[in-house]
């Protein structure tokens, strides 16, 4: 017996209750999802080519060599931040090691002293020339109007929070 749903003619009652489903659409979505998953993984692996190094690992850990494009993680040293001629310069430290960084432009976000950041670029002649800065916020959240901290001490408190 042919049980294929009918959508016209004297099968109008059936047509009202069984809408013809577009089975190709889920197939297309599955195919797109598979391709998109592949693209996402590929992009992640491609970005991982740039080694993720802490400041104290530059020149020590394999892959964190001078002259090679890397990502450097550290905390912006208090009092080192300066902006001139459209460039931002600061020092980045981690585990008592420090590196000078120069970035052409304004990093944006909540970039400031005492905050952990990730700088993308190359170390050349003792200066890390960065073309991308990402601010790495810690998982600590402190209320701005916390009465336990005096107003004048807030900036210093934020610094200590970030450096942990």
């Amino acid at each position: 017996m042919d049980l294929t749903p009918r959508t016209s003619g004297d099968a109008s009652a059936t047509a009202q209750t069984m809408k013809p489903r577009r089975r190709w659409l889920p197939m297309v979505i599955v195919a797109v999802a598979i391709v998109a998953g592949g693209v996402v993984v590929t992009r992640f692996l491609t970005s991982a080519i740039d080694y993720y190094c802490n400041v104290d690992e530059i020149g020590v850990r394999s892959g964190c060599d001078e002259g090679r494009r890397i990502r450097v993680q550290g905390v912006v040293v208090e009092g080192s931040l300066a902006k001139s001629d459209g460039a931002t310069t600061f020092k980045l430290s981690f585990h008592d090691k420090t590196v000078a960084v120069r970035y052409e432009g304004d990093p944006g976000g909540v970039f400031q002293e005492c905050i952990p950041v990730v700088a993308h670029g190359r170390l050349q002649g003792g200066l890390f020339a960065s073309d991308r800065i990402e601010v790495k916020h810690s998982n600590e959240y402190v209320e701005k109007n916390d009465t336990r901290i005096e107003e004048s001490d807030k900036e210093a408190a934020a610094c200590s929070v970030q450096e942990g």
Partner: protein, 246 residues
């Protein structure tokens, strides 16, 4: 029956809806007005009260999808009600992952200085989102209700394995994304009092919202299945009548 009004709500779901609405108002007041700004992020921290509860609900939704899928596969009578709960839960989970990705991207622009990085946490969350889009598409591939239930249940049990990968990605790989603040066994909670309370309020509110949505959606799916079955019944009846005439 098609053509008649069949509500998906009950007295219990209506009560749950009212309580959820009250909690939502409470969350909005605390999230936007009562809770303080963060010393570094300022008002941007308020994104947390939507971002974190959204991904929490997504985890719960996908875990529920896996659990009821396992119940379906292991059960003797294999009730399709389990399959519909799995489908409803996954649909809502996808919605909340999308909310989490969007709010996270906006929050990232304001704090990190960029909307997106191919970082382990962000990448694994995007992959989770794509996986469950695929899961929902697989549910729509056709076949009988039981075929749909069986293939999607197997897929749900595989897909749920991505959740620990997403959650621990910030521990496994060096990441721009911060580690967990609350669900972090290694350290004390690092949120000031009212921020922590507001975050938990958000998690409770979003969880209730999820429960309300799943209850309604699985009933809507049951009605959809009933409509499809009704159409099939009509087709069989019609063919039988045609055979008798001949």
């Amino acid at each position: 029956m098609p053509g008649t009004s069949t509500p998906t709500g009950t007295r219990a779901t209506r009560m749950l809806g009212v309580v959820t609405l009250a909690f939502t108002v409470w969350l909005v007041v605390f999230g936007l007005v009562v809770s303080a700004e963060d010393v570094v992020q300022g008002s941007t921290v308020r994104m947390m009260y939507v971002h974190v509860p959204s991904i929490w609900v997504a985890y719960v939704a996908f875990a529920l999808t896996a659990v009821v899928s396992a119940v379906y596969l292991s059960g003797k009578n294999r009730s399709l009600a389990w399959d519909r709960v799995a489908g409803a839960s996954a649909e809502i989970g996808v919605l909340f992952v999308a909310i989490s990705l969007i709010t996270g991207s906006l929050w990232g622009r304001l704090t990190w200085g960029t909307y997106w990085v191919w970082d382990a946490r962000l990448t694994s969350t995007a992959f989770l989102f794509i996986t469950y889009i695929g899961y929902l598409a697989v549910r729509g591939l056709g076949g009988s209700f039981r075929q749909r239930a069986r293939r999607s249940a197997v897929l749900a049990l595989l897909a749920v394995l991505e959740i620990p990968l997403v959650h621990f990605s910030v521990v496994i790989w060096r990441s721009l994304h911060q580690e967990s603040t609350v669900a972090n066994s290694g350290t004390d909670v690092e949120l000031d009092g009212l921020m922590l309370f507001t975050l938990f309020l958000g998690i409770v509110t979003f969880t209730m919202l999820f429960a309300w949505m799943v209850l309604h959606r699985q009933r809507a799916l049951a009605l959809q299945d009933a409509v499809d079955s009704h159409g099939l019944d009509l087709a069989i009846k019609q063919r039988q009548q045609e055979a008798e005439v001949r």
